[in-house]
């Protein structure tokens, strides 16, 4: 992710308006997590998120001269992403199949704070790195317990990993404690938990 301070956004957008490819590259790096974070909260698949991302990039290229507050570019991108998704869902007439909190979110029921997007992405990045510090066997258990979309039962995990069912619970807790100490060393602080 590009490390762009809010005060640099004026310069960044000025560069983009002049067609500076390096400025565009930095801008894209900045807004990419925002777009994908909004798509994730709207429960879009990866394919759909990628499609939306392309449309947002094009919208940004076309409207770059009209953006009046460069320092709020992330909030602007989050808003146009949400609106685009809302229009798609409305056109497809599938609101009744989407949960109420997603509809509410798309309709602007929750104030967009792009800092939350960075927070999420940063936290997940640290979490992912911390998992990779664990021994291979512990990583496999963490992935089976928390990250497998099929949500295997303890019996299925036991069979797959060759460990007794009764040991999964205690081992899980030991691994979480280990993960906790790794995360603390990597700067995953309590402040992140207040949301």
């Amino acid at each position: 992710m590009a490390d762009v301070k809010k005060s640099d956004f004026d310069e960044l957008l000025a560069g983009c308006r002049q067609g500076d490819r390096a400025a565009w590259s930095d801008l894209i790096d900045t807004i990419t997590p925002v777009v994908f974070s909004v798509c994730k909260r709207a429960k879009l698949s990866r394919d759909e998120s990628f499609d939306i991302f392309g449309q947002i990039c094009l919208d940004l290229v076309r409207s770059i001269s009209e953006i009046k507050s460069p320092s709020r570019i992330c909030a602007y991108v989050a808003t146009i992403t949400r609106r685009k998704i809302y229009r798609i869902y409305r056109r497809m007439q599938i609101f009744e199949r989407i949960s109420a909190d997603v509809v509410d979110y798309l309709h602007g029921g929750e104030a967009d704070n792009p800092e939350n997007s960075y927070h999420d992405i940063e936290r997940y990045g640290i979490l992912k790195e911390a998992i990779e510090y664990l021994p291979e066997r512990d990583q496999r258990l963490i992935k089976a317990l928390f990250l497998d979309p099929k949500e295997p039962s303890y019996r299925e995990i036991s069979k797959k990993l060759g460990m007794p069912v009764s040991s999964i619970g205690p081992t899980r807790m030991r691994i979480l404690k280990e993960l906790q100490s790794v995360l603390r060393r990597k700067g995953y602080r309590r402040q992140y938990f207040r949301k």
Partner: protein, 194 residues
Amino acid sequence: MVRNRGRKKKDRLLDSFLKRVDSNDRAELLKQFKSDSEVRCIVTDLLELGDYDLSGWENVISAARELAAGIIDSAIPENGEARGVITYDSKLLPMPEGVRRASVDSRRIKVQVGDGRIAISLYPVTPKSYRLMGQLNDFEDYVEILIILRISGKKLETTCNEWGLFEFPRVPCGKCEIILKQKREFISTFELTL
């Protein structure tokens, strides 16, 4: 209000996770969560992270960069010519972990042409050629729209039907240029590599 909504989501996530464990385990876990809220938060983050392919985020970023670079190059006209912009290409999107793309997989592309959009599907016919099917969307009308495809010195032409559908049954591999005209007037052009 935002904080309450966030806590409700965490509670729902934890609840769904706790239902996956047996009752003894659940009681033990709840006891531990109460004594160590940090672990509770790590667990909810792990569950949320499960929505994303764990190792896929960097691949998505890299694919997004490549897509964006193409969009910027096409959308910033250098000689004033109206060009179509490829805003989606399934070939760029990384496969989920452990999955390999099959050579017979179809490829989907979306191109923005002014206010209209073209959805293109490519199906391998032979190892060196594709069937190209396209759908025009959001154009003012689909009357007399000519689609010209130039590749390897050849020129293929077709028109779309009243719903904007068109097809090229066999297009050889390579870099091609697609030109759209309506009633002999130029609309747009874009390039595609098959």
